[in-house]
Amino acid sequence: MKLHEYQAKDIFSKSGIPIPNGQLVTTAEQATKAAQIINGPPWVVKAQVHAGGRGKGGGVKKAHYPYEVVTATESLLGKPLVTPQTGPDGVIVNQVLIEEGIEIDREFYLSMVVDRSTASPTMIFSTAGGMEIEEVAAKTPEVIFKEHVEPAVGWMPHQARNLLYGPEPPLTPAAVRGLMAVMANVYKIFIALDCSLIEINPLATNREGRAVALDAKVIIDNNAPFRQKELLELDDPREKDPLELMAEKYHLNYIRLDGNIGVMVNGAGLAMATMDVIKMAGAEPANFLDVGGGASEEMIAKGVEIILKDTRVKAILINIFGGILRCDVLARGLVAAAKKNEIHVPLIVRLAGTNVEEGRKILSDSSLEFLVARDIAQAAELVAKQVSGVN
């Protein structure tokens, strides 16, 4: 679960990580007031959307006069923002963060993630602040420093010293002190809130060595909500695709993609592989949909409904390898969905595994019109035929 910048900064501030003074606004009037209260000029006006690359997409604006704060806010609010990480339609900006401009001496990069290969939380620090870390890693890996945390011990001051006494030119003693405190707090938040990512880029220091988090990115582990209930309030459903939101409600794993072949599969790996097969057959999947291991009839029916709501869909491929999910359950769900919604596009069904005979019988006894694929190769062929017919 992604947090907005202003939500992450609120958490930072409460945990002792300095942030710029700022205010969240949703109207131009609020922006006028904010410009009066917050120190300036300059001010920074920042669109609050989950997608990254806001700077490149024009979602971060500098204002030198109070009226510029208002016009910048107006130019963002209610309008789509297109960034390298959004689709071509962009995402609607519903909220804007107005902050004081901070005098900067140096900019750094700081993040914490769980490193898969060492199975440990890892602090990543770089002197190349304000740049995309992927680019830095590719071009100048020597300015990126890492420290793995021993889980039983936690973050230790010597690790911060290892990171902070390495870079050239050397940091001032005051900056070292400021950044050490930020690192300790980042670790504390990371553990306390079950984060999968905390990223501060840039993390700035001023001439006095005071550290300030100019940006804030926090992602919460999707497996942790059961013990992070208060964080669920920070979830912003407006940032999600409506069909993805509907799928979430029924515990279906649905991701909208750009093609026109609706896909329903049990299991994430098989779903990905099925998408790949579709693509190789010359078509494009409209979605990823993993109904999971223990899907019920109702979940299957909802899954079909969600696919049908996507008006781009020209054909549907259902690929089920019954394990825990039995083929007869799938078939009943499919028939139930067809009773509620008219399936107006070709339906290709491939069933294998547990109770496959019963599943096939339920389908053929129903009034449902569908094409049977013997195996995944034939399923791909049928999909390709549909596509060449449609296009």
Binding site: V114, A119, P151, R227, M272, A273, V277, F288, F321
Partner: protein, 304 residues
């Protein structure tokens, strides 16, 4: 032979009184697995499918000689369940549970470092040595005893692959689902080392997916150390970056974990990569056929 589990495995099912635990206990028993005990804290003394239930894994080990654990405990309690099994000295721990918080797995990985337990999973279908024992949730009837090993990050995709192998006349020595989470107990490399020593295993099918760098690491290891034929498949060639594809570990993040990079690394290491799932069985047969002559079809062998 086979690796990690066989007819001598005495399984303790943790979370045996739950819906999933009870259901799969029956399926495992039907396959011929020796389910020696079950554990649900506070429900010791009961029976599920004729299997005695204990309050702790320690008791299950002491009373029933359990040496393999299969965990169906819900996510909030799963990390503790894994540690429970390891503390009790269970040698092979299979964790089926999906949805364990990553930071819990950080603790588990640290806890297991000085134990000699092998953890498979979490978020995996389990492990099966066809004809001998099945510890997990995979459908037993698609498997046949034989000489191909399967190591996979996926669940149902593994069934698809195994089904194609069996149809191609290629039985399996042991099939392992290592799990779809960012932190898992054992990796491709851990099991490749075991399959290297297993005289029954003549080739390996390695099923990877987007996210992380496990496939790249496996490629390097295979090139240096593993000289039996390997056929790899990578799911998610068309997955967009930044979107988590179901599995917590299946995400292309920060430019890392792309299918194309994995495929390139495997091919550079001289490993055959089946690009199309639809024809994977044929690809395996081709590669194995070239390198082996003594592969026997197992289609007619009896099911346990």
């Amino acid at each position: 032979m086979s690796i990690l589990v066989d007819e001598n495995s005495r399984v303790v099912v943790q979370g045996i009184t739950g819906r999933e635990g009870a259901f799969h206990t029956k399926r495992m028993l039907d396959y011929g697995t020796v389910v020696a005990a079950g554990v649900t804290p506070g429900k010791g003394g009961r029976e599920v499918e004729g299997v005695p239930v204990f309050n702790t894994v320690k008791q299950a080990v002491e009373k029933e000689g359990a040496n393999v654990s299969c965990i169906f405990v819900p996510p909030p309690f799963a990390a503790d369940a894994i540690m429970d099994a390891a503390s009790a000295g269970v040698k092979v721990i299979v964790c089926i549970t999906e949805g364990i918080p990553v930071l819990d797995m950080v603790k588990v990985a640290s806890f297991l470092r000085d134990k000699d337990s092998v953890l498979i999973g979490p978020n995996c279908p389990g492990i099966i040595s066809p004809g001998k024992t099945k510890v997990g949730i995979m459908p037993g009837d698609i498997h046949r005893p034989g000489n191909m090993a399967v190591i996979s990050r996926s669940g149902t995709l593994t069934y698809e692959v195994v089904d194609q192998l069996t149809r191609a006349g290629l039985g399996q020595s042991t099939c392992i689902g290592i799990g779809g989470d960012p932190i898992i107990g054992t990796t491709f490399i851990d099991h490749l080392k075991r399959f290297k020593e297993d005289s029954e295993t003549e080739g390996v099918v390695l099923i990877g997916e987007i996210g992380g760098t496990a496939e790249e690491e496996a490629a390097e290891h295979i090139q240096k150390e593993f000289h039996k034929p390997v056929i790899a498949f990578i799911a998610g060639q068309t997955a967009p970056p930044g979107r988590r594809m179901g599995h917590a570990g299946a995400i292309i993040a920060r430019g890392q974990g792309k299918a194309e990079d994995k495929i390139a690394a495997l091919q550079e290491a001289g490993i055959a990569v089946a690009l199309n799932l639809a024809t994977l069985g044929g690809t395996v047969l081709e590669v194995i056929g070239k390198k082996l002559t003594q592969i026997k079809p197992y289609l007619d062998s009896h099911l346990p």
